[in-house]
C-alpha cells in the first residue's frame, strides 16, 4: 500500500514536469522561455542543495559553483569520449526500441547515466571539501570552500584535455526541461524528508551548537561531511544537466559570482527553509531576466534617465529608513504596522515619480540614460541590500510552506 502510494506520487511529479514542459513548448517562439525555465529549475536545485549545507547544517559554504562545475565537466568528459560508443552499443540499440522514439530513449538513458556520474563525482568533491569543515568554522570554512571552487575552476581552465579556457563542446545537446524540474523536485523532497524524520535533527543540532550535539553523542564529523556530500551530489547532477542542455561547458560559467548568487538565494529565502530557498532562487533568477526583457511595443528597450534613477534612489533610502524605524519602534497593533509600512512604500513610489520629473529638469540628469537591461545588476544588488536591511532573517525565516497553515484559523496560528 505504501509503495503504491509512493509510486503514485512519483508518477504525479513526472506528469507535472512533463505537463509544465508541454505548456511551455506550446507557446510561440518558446526558445527563450524554455531556456529560462531550464535555468530556473537548475538554480532551484542549486539553492535547495546549498541550503542543506548552509542553512540546515550551518556549514558556511560559499563555493557551491565548484560542485556544479564538477558535474558539468564530468559530463563533458564522458560525452566527448563515450557517447558515440554508448549510442552504438548493441544493448542500447535494443533498448532504444522501447521508448517513444529511438533517439529519445538513447539520449534519456545517457542523460540518466550522466546525472548519476555527475552526482557521484561532485559527491567525491563534496567529501573532500567537507573534510576541512572538521577543523574550520565560520568564515574560515567559507574562505576555504571559496578557495576550492577557484582552484577547481582554474585547474580546469588550464587542462587542454578539458578544453582549457574555451571549454568543451558537449554532444548531443539535450533539451531536458522536465528532467531538470524532476531533479529539482527530487532535491526538495529529499531535504523535506530529512527534516520530517528524526534523522534531520542532528543536522539542525550541529548548526545550533556543535559542542552540545557532540555531548549528546552526535557524530558531528559524519553529519557535516554527509551534508556536504548530499548537497554537492545534487549540484553535480544539476551540472550534468546544464552541460547537455547548453551543449558546452566553459570555466566562466562557474565563476565565484555564481556561488554568491546561489548563497544569496538561500539567505534571501531564509536560511534553513526549503521553501525559502526555492522562492529565493526563482525570484533572484527571475528579477534580472525580467529587467532584461523590458521593452516598448516596438521592441526598443525603454530608457531610464539618470534623474529618474536618482529620484528613485533617494526615495528608496528615505522609505527604507522610515520602515526600519517602524519595524523597530512602532508598538501598535500588527495590522496598523503593516498598513503603515505598505503606506510608506506606496507614498515613496509616488514621490519618486515626481522627484524624478523634477530632477529631470536638470539637463545633465535628463540626457544621460540607460536601458533597463544595463541597470539590472545594480537593481539586483539594491534589492538584496534592501531585503537584508528590512528582513535579515530572509523572506520565510525558518518557516516552511505548508498547506495546513492556510487552513488554520488566524487565532490558532498566532497561538
Amino acid at each position: 500500500m505504501f509503495y503504491l502510494k509512493r509510486f503514485g506520487w512519483v508518477i504525479l511529479a513526472i506528469l507535472l514536469c512533463v505537463g509544465f514542459e508541454s505548456v511551455v513548448t506550446s507557446g510561440k517562439n518558446f526558445d527563450y522561455v524554455y531556456r529560462m525555465c531550464v535555468l530556473a529549475g537548475l538554480y532551484v536545485t542549486l539553492a535547495v542543495s546549498l541550503n542543506l549545507i548552509n542553512g540546515i547544517t550551518g556549514q558556511f559554504s560559499i563555493g557551491h559553483a565548484a560542485f556544479y562545475q564538477v558535474g558539468a565537466y564530468i559530463t563533458g568528459f564522458f560525452a566527448a569520449t563515450g557517447y558515440k560508443g554508448f549510442a552504438s552499443n548493441s544493448l542500447v540499440q535494443q533498448l532504444s526500441h522501447i521508448g517513444v522514439n529511438a533517439t529519445w530513449t538513447v539520449q534519456g538513458l545517457w542523460l540518466v547515466m550522466m546525472v548519476l556520474a555527475g552526482a557521484a563525482g561532485a559527491a567525491v568533491a563534496g567529501f573532500v571539501v567537507g573534510l576541512p569543515s572538521l577543523r574550520l568554522k565560520g568564515d574560515y570554512l567559507a574562505i576555504v570552500t571559496l578557495g576550492f571552487g577557484e582552484i577547481i575552476r582554474i585547474v580546469c581552465q588550464n587542462q587542454p584535455a578539458l578544453g582549457g579556457a574555451y571549454g568543451m563542446k558537449i554532444e548531443p545537446r539535450i533539451n531536458s526541461m522536465w528532467f531538470v524540474w524532476l531533479l529539482a523536485i527530487l532535491c526538495i523532497a529529499v531535504c523535506r524528508n530529512l527534516l520530517k524524520t528524526a534523522h534531520g535533527l542532528p543536522f539542525l543540532a550541529v548548526r545550533e551548537d556543535e559542542v552540545a550535539s557532540s555531548a549528546m553523542g552526535v557524530d558531528v564529523t559524519k553529519v557535516k561531511v554527509t551534508a556536504f556530500v548530499i548537497g554537492a551530489a545534487f549540484a553535480g547532477a544539476a551540472g550534468a544537466l546544464l552541460g547537455h542542455f547548453e551543449g558546452f561547458v566553459s570555466p566562466p560559467m562557474f565563476k565565484m559570482e555564481v556561488s554568491f548568487m546561489v548563497l544569496t538565494m538561500v539567505v534571501l529565502g531564509g536560511t534553513g527553509s526549503i521553501t525559502g530557498s526555492t522562492v529565493g532562487a526563482l525570484l533572484l533568477f527571475g528579477i534580472p531576466e525580467w529587467l532584461r526583457q523590458i521593452e516598448d511595443s516596438h521592441h526598443n528597450p525603454i530608457l531610464v534617465s539618470a534623474g529618474s534613477v536618482l529620484g528613485f534612489a533617494i526615495m528608496l533610502v528615505a522609505a527604507v529608513a522610515y520602515v526600519r524605524h517602524l519595524i523597530h519602534h512602532f508598538h501598535g497593533e500588527k495590522k496598523a504596522k503593516t498598513q503603515r509600512i505598505v503606506g510608506t512604500f506606496a507614498a515613496a513610489l509616488v514621490a519618486q515619480f515626481f522627484l524624478g520629473m523634477l530632477l529631470n529638469l536638470v539637463p545633465a540628469l535628463r540626457d544621460k540614460s540607460w536601458p533597463y537591461a544595463d541597470l539590472r545588476w545594480a537593481i539586483f544588488a539594491v534589492t538584496l541590500i534592501v531585503l537584508m536591511l528590512l528582513r535579515p532573517q530572509g523572506m520565510f525565516a525558518h518557516h516552511e510552506f505548508s498547506v495546513a497553515r492556510f487552513f488554520k484559523r488566524p487565532k490558532e496560528a498566532a497561538a
Binding site: A198, L201, P202, L204, E208, D209, V211, A212, G217
Partner: protein, 255 residues
C-alpha cells in the same frame, strides 16, 4: 557495588593555569554524588575532562573499566556518559520535543537512506522516538510546552530540558552542572525530587555540581570538594559540613 567512574590524578593546564590539579575520586554504581567548590575551582572543567571536551594533560579517567581520557565527546556519550551544561546549551531554534529527540541520535536504527526516501521504517522510528521523548518530558514536567521553541522557555524550564535531553541518550552516568542555578526554592525542591527519581527509578548514577549547599547536602550521599583545582575534601555531607578546610575555602572566597 561496582566502580563506574574512576578519576586518578586527573590534571589539565591551560597555559600557565592549572585548572584541575591531580583530582582523584571514585563513583560507585547508583551513587548520587556531589561536586562542590568556590567559583573557578575547576568543577566544570572536571566535567569537560570526563566528557571529552578537553583532553587531560595527565592522569587517567576510567569508565566501566575502560580508559576514556582523550576519547571524543560523541564516543563518550555512546559509552553511556551524558551531561548538562552550566551555561545552558540547548538547540535554540528547535522545539522542546525536538531537543530531546536529538538526544536519541545514538539509538537510530534505520539508515539515513531510508529517512531521505521517507520509508515507512524511518517514519515509524521517528514516531517512536518522539513518543519516548514526550515521556521524558513528562518526567521533568515539560510536556505542556513540548512544541515551544526551546529559546522561548524561561530559565528554570531550560535547565530541566537540559536534563531531559541528556536522559534521552540513556546514559548510565549522568553529569549535571549546576542544575538548580537560578531557580526559586519551590523549583529547587521539585528538581531534587526529579533527580532522586532519576537515580532510583531509572537507575542512573548521578554526579552533580551545585553551589546551593542546602540542595547538595540534602540530596547527595557523598561529596567531593575542589578549590583552586585541587581536591581538598571528600566524604558524606556531615563530614564535609564540619571540615575546616572546606569552611576556609568558602570563607576565604567570601572575604
Amino acid at each position: 557495588m561496582s566502580t563506574i567512574l574512576q578519576l586518578t590524578d586527573a590534571t589539565i593546564k591551560f597555559g600557565g593555569l592549572t585548572a584541575v590539579n591531580k583530582v582523584s575520586f571514585n563513583l560507585q554504581k547508583g551513587d548520587l554524588f556531589g561536586l562542590i567548590g568556590p567559583n573557578g575551582a575547576g568543577k566544570t572543567t572536571c566535567f569537560n575532562l570526563i566528557t571529552g571536551v578537553y583532553k587531560p594533560t595527565s592522569g587517567s579517567i576510567v569508565f566501566n573499566g575502560k580508559e576514556i581520557s582523550g576519547t571524543p565527546s560523541n564516543k563518550i556519550a555512546s559509552l553511556g556518559i551524558c551531561r548538562t551544561f552550566q551555561n545552558i546549551r540547548l538547540f535554540p531554534a528547535l522545539s522542546v520535543l525536538e531537543n530531546v529527540v536529538v538526544g536519541a541520535y545514538l539509538r537510530h536504527k534505520t539508515g539515513l537512506g531510508s529517512a531521505l526516501a521517507y520509508l515507512p521504517s524511518a517514519i515509524a522510528e521517528t514516531e517512536a522516538l518522539r513518543a519516548e521523548a514526550f515521556a521524558l518530558l513528562q518526567v521533568v514536567d515539560l510536556d505542556d510546552v513540548a512544541h515551544v521553541r526551546s529559546a522561548d522557555l524561561p530559565y528554570g524550564k531550560q535547565r530541566r530540558l537540559e536534563i531531559a535531553r541528556a536522559m534521552a541518550t540513556q546514559p548510565s552516568l549522568l553529569l549535571l552542572d549546576e542544575p538548580a542555578a537560578g531557580m526559586n526554592p519551590q523549583e529547587k525542591d521539585d528538581l531534587a525530587r526529579v533527580v532522586r527519581r532519576i537515580r532510583d527509578e531509572f537507575e542512573k548514577t548521578v554526579l552533580l555540581i551545585e553551589h546551593d549547599m542546602r540542595f547538595v547536602m540534602g540530596l547527595c550521599e557523598r561529596i567531593v570538594v575542589l578549590d583552586h583545582g585541587e581536591e581538598i575534601a571528600q566524604g558524606p555531607p556531615e563530614a564535609i559540613r564540619s571540615n575546616p578546610k572546606v569552611i576556609e575555602a568558602y570563607l576565604g572566597e567570601a572575604v
